[in-house]
Amino acid sequence: MAPNPRKRKVVTRDAPQKADSEDELGLLEGILSHSEADSNDSDDDESSDGSSVIEGLSDEDEEDEEDEDDEYSAEDLDSDEVPTDGEEEIRKQIRNLSTTDRPLKNKSSKLTHENGFGIGEDRESESAQEDSELRPNYTVITDANGNERYIYQEIDPVYESDESDAPETTNTIGNIPLHYYDAYPHIGYDINGKKIMRPAKGEALDALLDSIDIPKGWTGLTDPETGKPLELSEEELDVLRKITRNEIPADGYDPYPDMVHYFTGHEEIMPLSAAPEPKRRFVPSKHEAKRVMKIVKAIREGRIKPYKPPAEEEEEDDDFRYDIWADEVPRPEYSMHIAAPKLPPPGYDASYHPPAEYLPDKHEKSTWLEADEEEREKEYLPTDHDALRKVPGYERFVKERFERSLDLYLAPRVRRNRLNIDPESLLPKLPSPDELRPFPTTCAVIFRGQEGRVRSVSVDPHGIFMASGGDDGYARIWEITTGRQLWNVKLSDEDAVDTVKWRPGKDASILAAAAGETVFLIVPFTILSPDIEQISRDLLDAGWGYAASKPSTTTNIAITKEPPAKWSRPGVRLESKGVLVQATVRSTIKVINWHRKGDYFATVSPRGQSSAVAIHTLSKHLTQLPFRRLKGLAQSAQFHPSKSIFFVATRNSIRSYDLAKQELVKILQPGAKWISSIDVHAGGDNIIVGTYDKRLLWHDLDLSTKPYRTLRYHQEAIRAVRYHPGGLPLFADASDDGSIQIFHGKVVGDLMENATIVPLKVLKGHKVKSRLGVMDVDWHPREPWCVSAGADGTSRLWN
């Protein structure tokens, strides 16, 4: 019955109800009656389709209950008494059920009670509850036989009363007035959140029951023989009833009749026949003997063979006695088929008498013999036999054949494309080495005479002098072509001279050197011509007194704050050597870089957090800290060669700032762990970056923030990188592995073409001392010469 109502539900939503009730008229009686009830209800409230659904749903509920009822009554039939009138009985019971369900409110109150919400707001329910408590929990009725029958009310399952875990539908709506649900088909929700449908109303049930017209003798069963409903007469029912009650079904029926024995197990004394056993039972059969003799005769005569040898097998010659390819039709191989590869033909060395050069020498022989059988490149050892009769059998012959057959059926076959590319076609066309000349190739001059490492070198803008600074605290100036030391000064007793840098511009000759926190500006007048000396001195002296003449705005700050640098005279001893100005910043300076005009220079002291990068103005003896706070440790800083852009390299990124607009322009991500140095190409669009993680990176600012090329040719950290300043397409890097590598790096003005980088030369000569090799490198301003500072205490000129 279950699927039907569901089906009906669906139908009622779409189609008009009458049609559907008619539709299913013939199907089932039950449904017929339901649909009648439906139509009745729909007469009452035709308001919405929903209502019909509600009705349908409630009907379904009803049916379920009916089902249960039926079962119940059947049990009754089994256990209790035989009902006198089946029809009456059924009706009564159904009615009983329906009446218990009838008052909606009662039920709901019961539900709330079950939930343990004892205090109902509804007064009616309260009184009903009280009533139920007062009254005995059963009613006495007369059953079909006229006997008394106790019908117990449903047990009120308070929490303690029931031990069973059987799920029960409990309304979970809580303590709210039930009339809120009046407009809905449901009265609440069970514990699973499903709707509890409103039970059927009494009138509907009655109407239903009345409509069922139970015929006489209706049993609800079908006669298996006729297929028609089985109808039993009164007498038959009576018999049935009696049987079920273990009574004697009819009068005069003897349940225990006497037993009649048809056969006895006793052997009779007298046999049935007295005839004696015939003779033939004791005499051999002549007929049989005749037949046997016949066979014997036949065997003797050879007509019958006692054992026929099986027919000899025909030779298998017959197998090949026809042409299997008589009607051959070529069939295209299916695409996935891979034919077994043929074994390669033997080479010269497989010969029994090969040319002597194919024979293994002693070493090869021993390695072959020692090697594992699987690891041998060839499975045989070439051997020479000077005559055919001396050739022994090949002991691996069967094994090789066996391995081949294994390969044929066990080895997966894969089609491999053979590389048929000319390797030359892959190689790029490079400029010939002659085009790349000139570049430094050999060590021309070694500058000796320094103690400890040489930390920094710089070639002066004229290309005559080379300045160096090292661990011994001296700044020295050498003649570049001869390697003669021209001038030196001890700048510091405890600190090393970390960096030296000539001021650009040929008009004056000023060397900036940093030892510890101090920058010294030096005019080595002893080696300069007087006019240049004068210009240089003027340049340095111009700034004196500037701070004093400066308006008080800065001084106010200066009072509150320590100035970023102190500009002063270094004292008589140094001044006599030409060290004219010193500026002391807060922490050790590692890098000095001049602006192209020579008025500004930037210093980097990686340890001074906010004062790491300082820009000094020479003409004003002024120091500015452009960055209040710098992300990461500053490693290097450099001015753009033409624009007012300032590059700052931190440990793993390079930022470029527009100094005029005072804003960040770009952040380059070289992807390096620790940048050691950077250099900006004269065009300003390319930067090379040297890193402590052995990489040299070329950044094209127009392309991306990622490196254009990453070069890894060093075995140790790269300390310094430098472009050639004088227009030659060269750059060099210095590494801790003691080598300088020279590259050709040509930047074309055309935007379409990327820079070509060609490795040119490895310059080796510096010795590695305590894991430091070449500390710095610098180019000659015009010539393809470069100067390097080694940790071994020498500087070298390469040309």
């Binding site: 099986p310 040719y713 040119l760």
Partner: protein, 684 residues
Amino acid sequence: MRIKKKGTSGAAKNYITRTRAVKKLQISLPDFRRLCIFKGIYPREPRNKKKVSKGSTAATTFYYTKDIQYLLHEPLLNKFREHKTVAKKIGRALGRGEVGDAARLEKTHIPKIKLDHIIKERYPTFVDALRDLDDALSMIFLFANLPSTQHVPSKTIALCQRLAHEFEHYLIVSHSLRKSFLSIKGIYYQATIQGQDILWLVPYRFVQRTGGDIDFRIMGTFVEFYTTLLGFVNFRLYTSAGLVYPPKFNAKSDEMGGELGAFQLEGKGISKNDEPATNGEASTAVTSAIAQAEADKVADMIDPEEKKEDGALVQVDEEGNTDTIDKFEATAQDGDILPQPQASNAEIASLFASFTFYLSRETPRAPLEFILKAFGCKKVGWDGILGDGAFTTDESDPTITHQIIDRPSLPTESLPQVPNIPTPVDDGAAVPKAQWPRSTMPGRTYVQPQWVWDCINQGKLLRPDLYAPGAELPPHLSPWVKAKKGEYDPNLPLAEQELPGEAEAFEDEEEDAEFFEEEEAANEKDHNMDALAARDTSVEAGEGMDIAGSEDEIDEEDEEEEENDMAAAEEWDGIESDGESDLSDDEVAHRQHQRELEAEALGSVIEPTVATTKSKNAAIRKKADKKRREEEEERERQKMMLTNKKRKLIKRIEHGTKKRDVESEALRKKRRKIEKVKAAANAV
């Protein structure tokens, strides 16, 4: 959209593991193996193993699902199942002790497996079958030479022998054997049938080592398939050649070791009378041989244009009635030269046609008989010991033109005296029963067996004196090696192949190593060559004494330079500047000058340094080295500019060539050494 379930399409569906395949077919693993061998089904390697095996990466064998499905309706499957049931019954009978029953069951009920349909299925055309004949022939020839054991029934061996001999007979008749090679493994043969090159290997006649992990069941399965295949192939070949298949088999002759001679070929329709089996085939085979030659010729000509031309030519030359291809000579320079087959096959096929051979006792009769006959020789005689079927067993037969001998030549005195047997006087004149090595027959050529092989491989008769008994044989070379560019070719003189500067480098090395070698050589006296080498080097050392001083210096310099080079070449050596090498040259000159000055100061006269071979060598070598180094540098530089992907690709490509170069260089070096030793020996 519905989410697709994993493993229901694509690679996961296309492949099936072996276990699953066996389960699907419901047979045992050995049966599956047999089925795969018969049907030629082999495992596949999926491109992505993980996708196929649903994430697991365990090593498994995969088959194509389609292949397995195709096995599902194989009639053999049923046979296997029947076999299984009968085997069960036999087992039961044996368990009950009913041996007779078991025997009967085995005799009558075990299903016979026929592979005809599989042959047809795997090789839809005859050419397909020929193409796949390499392994079949190798296997069958091996089994024909195996002793019968428990795993290898004598019947199989007999069948293999029969099929092998039949096939050999066809090759003899059709003259389709092309090449052969004596290797240390066995004898390789190559035949060309209908344009298909078939190469197979026949072991030398020794007892084969069959121990170890050799599974004869698998080999047996293969042999079963291959015998069926070769049977049908033989049938087809014989019938197409106008012969009756199977040929008449003379069991008596076979028992007496007749081998090839035990078979008697018959032309179709004509029943041959009792002509000797050994030469009987020749007359019948004339037509077929011509047909074969024709077919081969057609197969050889790839160029259709050429063919057309040829056709025209044949028409022109009809009066001349030549069957061969004419040689085309280019009349003008600007025309393309089309390839032509070199020598006509008919010519080679009758290489030995006019000769009578006699095989001495110690020679391998079977291969020699086969090869000689396949190349046109009709009369092959041998010592009676070697078996039945000889043209003659009389060594002194005057018709014999060539005798093949594989014995060292001994001085006549050392030979034992032959008891003087009185020769039967039939013709009145006593024929001297002189035999090699005691005396040679006039007009007879004595050669070693290798001569036959070298002749057929080169397609012409070679000088027999190089192969005379007891002579040191020229090396036997594989006819299949085609030297590629840059590979070592033993046929060419060394000077043609070596790289510039290589020889000089070698000489220098030799001299450097000579002292060590001397010692070594002294220790090892058993080897002739080394002893010679020692003699040679000692002579040289004596000669070079007077210039040792100057040499040493140069040597040192060289070493220094080399060291520098080594250092530079370590990782990336940039461009060597001209300056550096110039400098070193300068330095040499400088030092020379210095020395002269010093000598002057001392008042002694320095001999002008003779341009010794060594210094000359050094110069040449240096030059070559420099050039090579420069090239290499250039290449390295170019490579440095590549992307990683391309660099790896190049590396892979170059790996092969580099390996080949190294190998050929090693060979060249060895040869140089040997040649030097030989030259020294000659000089002595």
